[in-house]
């Protein structure tokens, strides 16, 4: 370059300098993956020594996938999910995954995941908001196909006027697909749930896909403390020969369903078979409770269990509620909190017991429709105690003062 000529600097629309893409790691970089050893899931989840690190939610997901012994990851980029799958791409380059590619769009991605799971390998995808909507038809067919896989959902606005900001209305669509559905509060949860989801979904009596949701940006793009075990240990590989249906068998259902829809004839026998099949999906969900109890420490967490005012929340609304509980205590009022970790299966019995004594139950949410409040109201008795709110949506954050207004019934906060 001759003297006096400035080197062109590329920037993104926000003016940030675009640095060169990282070079593909050499064989040296793959040594970490090659050195990993398989350990018992109980050891990895519950016993292995951990060290604290300050990372984003996307990086927490990356660390889960690093230790998950994933065979194939397929996705299509969409904000705020893209960063996570970019991180997973680095893992592929470092040899932690056997295959990784970008599909044409989400319908194709979710179909490819179905095919990969049917072949008996451990699969991962991730999406967000409108991407989830686009893939939903296929995602809804995964449970009936008894296809274990993990889908990470980074929630964002789905409805017009379009926005990329946090809003978790999309989870209301996931509630009735038959997939297991966990809702992470923070970066730590996102690491733990994503990793544990693989083993829960692959249990023979469960054999179901698992969606692990997190509120976009609040968690994916923000840093938090995450305790991680060493990176040189990983989960055992998927053992598809001990699952509820035969994998890699193109002559038998459920794979054959795609070929000639054999049980969809118009007669009672076919209806009965289909009905029994559907019942089995939800029964399998119920069987996952044992493993959620074991590895999550329960489907719910309860703070101040005797308080007369209880907050029931999931996702990052839990974090805001924790702070509201603290601030209420400063005012001399004890407020309780029920954190719902698993939305499917829903903690029916646990929630009834945890709220039985409560006089007032608040359900703060990051969506307009109040899907969690509806779930709570349809679960517990004396549901006139449930106050459906506060709710924010469209990308708004939830000030703790808003929750306190609902607690104290006044605008002073």
């Amino acid at each position: 370059m001759s003297e006096g000529v400035e080197e062109e600097v590329k920037t993104n629309p926000q003016g940030d300098v675009i640095t060169a893409a990282p070079k593909a790691p050499k064989e040296e970089a793959k040594k970490g993956a090659a050195a990993q050893r398989v350990v018992d899931p109980d050891y990895l989840f519950l016993q292995a020594p951990r060290e604290k690190t300050f990372i984003t939610g996307s990086e927490a997901a990356k660390e889960a996938i690093r230790r998950a012994n994933v065979d194939v990851a397929i996705s299509y980029p969409i904000t705020p999910q893209s960063e996570t799958m970019q991180q997973v791409g680095y893992l592929y380059a470092e040899g932690y995954l056997k295959d990784y590619y970008r599909g044409e769009e989400e319908y194709g991605v979710m179909s490819a995941i179905a095919g990969a799971s049917r072949s008996g390998v451990r699969c991962l995808s991730a999406t967000a908001g409108p991407g989830l909507m686009r893939g939903l038809e296929v995602i809804s067919s995964w449970p009936g196909g008894r296809l274990p896989c993990v889908l990470l959902i980074m929630c964002r606005v789905i409805n017009a006027p379009l926005a990329i900001q946090p809003d978790n209305v999309e989870l209301s669509y996931m509630l009735n697909t038959g997939c297991l559905l966990f809702h992470a509060e923070n970066q730590q949860d996102f690491y733990d749930y994503a990793l544990q989801a693989f083993m829960i979904g692959e249990k023979p009596e469960v054999t179901l896909p698992v969606a692990v949701a997190v509120d976009g940006f609040f968690v994916t793009h923000a840093r938090g403390w995450v305790s991680l075990p060493a990176a040189d240990i990983k989960l055992p590989p998927r053992d598809c020969y001990h699952e509820a249906v035969p994998m890699m068998d193109n002559e038998n259902p459920p794979i054959r369903i795609s070929r000639d829809a054999p049980i969809q004839k118009s007669n009672f026998i076919s209806y009965q078979m289909h009905a029994s099949w559907q019942q089995e999906i939800w029964a399998a969900q119920d069987r996952s409770r044992k493993w959620i109890d074991r590895w999550f420490g329960g489907l719910i967490e309860v703070v101040n269990p005797k308080a007369k005012i209880m907050i029931v929340a999931s996702g990052s609304a839990v974090s805001q509620s924790r702070e509201a509980v603290r601030q209420a205590a400063e005012q001399g009022v004890e407020v309780g909190l029920v954190k719902i970790k698993s939305l499917r299966p829903f903690p029916t019995r646990e929630l009834i017991e945890a709220t039985d004594h409560a006089e007032k139950i608040l359900v703060p949410e990051f969506n307009y429709v109040g899907w969690l409040a509806k779930e709570v109201k349809s679960t517990i008795g004396r549901n006139e105690r449930v106050i459906s709110g506060p709710r924010v949506f469209g990308g708004m954050s939830m000030p703790t003062e808003l929750i306190l207004e609902y607690i104290f019934g006044s605008k002073q906060y």
């Binding site: 008894r146 249990k203 023979p204 009596e205 054999t207 001990h242 699952e243 509820a244 249906v245 035969p246 002559e251 038998n252 259902p253 459920p254 054959r256 000639d260 054999p262 049980i263 004839k265 026998i269 076919s270 009965q272 078979m273 009905a275 029994s276 099949w277 019942q279 089995e280 939800w282 029964a283 399998a284 119920d286 069987r287 409770r289 044992k290 109890d293 329960g298 489907l299 903690p347 019995r349 646990e350």
Partner: protein, 251 residues
Amino acid sequence: MKQTKEPAYRVLTGPEGLLPPAAAIMGIRLPEEGEGLVEGRIVEEEKAMEAAAIAMLTRKNPTLFPGPLMIWGWNEHTREKAKPFFDVAHEIPGVRIIPMPDYRPIYPKIDPEAVINPCHPNLTIWHNKIEACVFIGVHCHFANITLKMIRAGTNCYTIALCAEAGHEDAMASVPHFNAEKLQKFAETLRRVKKNGVKPLYEGKGIIPSGWAQIAGLTGADITKPEEEMVEAGVQSEFAHDLERGLDENEE
């Protein structure tokens, strides 16, 4: 969360009705190693085996339904279960062995004396008037949908001897069922007979079922043309289409 009290629901012989619920949804939980299920209640493994043995010895037309994980010798685990499986069969007088060879839909034509199919297991139960049966080596998904349909429309006592976690929808179930436990089940059958349970079909052996088994026992050549098979008396009234193969897309 630990279950504090037993659910009210019981998994009893049917017919239970048009569409019984999945037992898991009604609060029935799966047994741990060393345990079993009897009618929806957790019991010791031995008690579950006893209940299963008594049902197979005393109810009408007891039948073993081996699934693909039992009848195809595709790995050592399957092969080592073959001998104890027949040990069990020989301890049940008058037992039939009707396989569920795979899960391919064979609707609308089925030879209910030769096979059971998860799309319509009740047809085989009804046709053979089976009142006690054992499922073994059936993938869990297909075992569960089958067990629910049998409970819905028949009076059959179902037993699921499962290599994995067990089955809430069976009247009796034992999990992690390997060759050793099969042997233990044969011993349980011997013990309950010794303790005074009189088999309904005492003195009888295994009753062949289906044209292939009958043909095998009579020495008939099952590759002979259909007319000769009928003459030889080895073909049941249901066999004609199965033998030729089915048009799987036929409505």
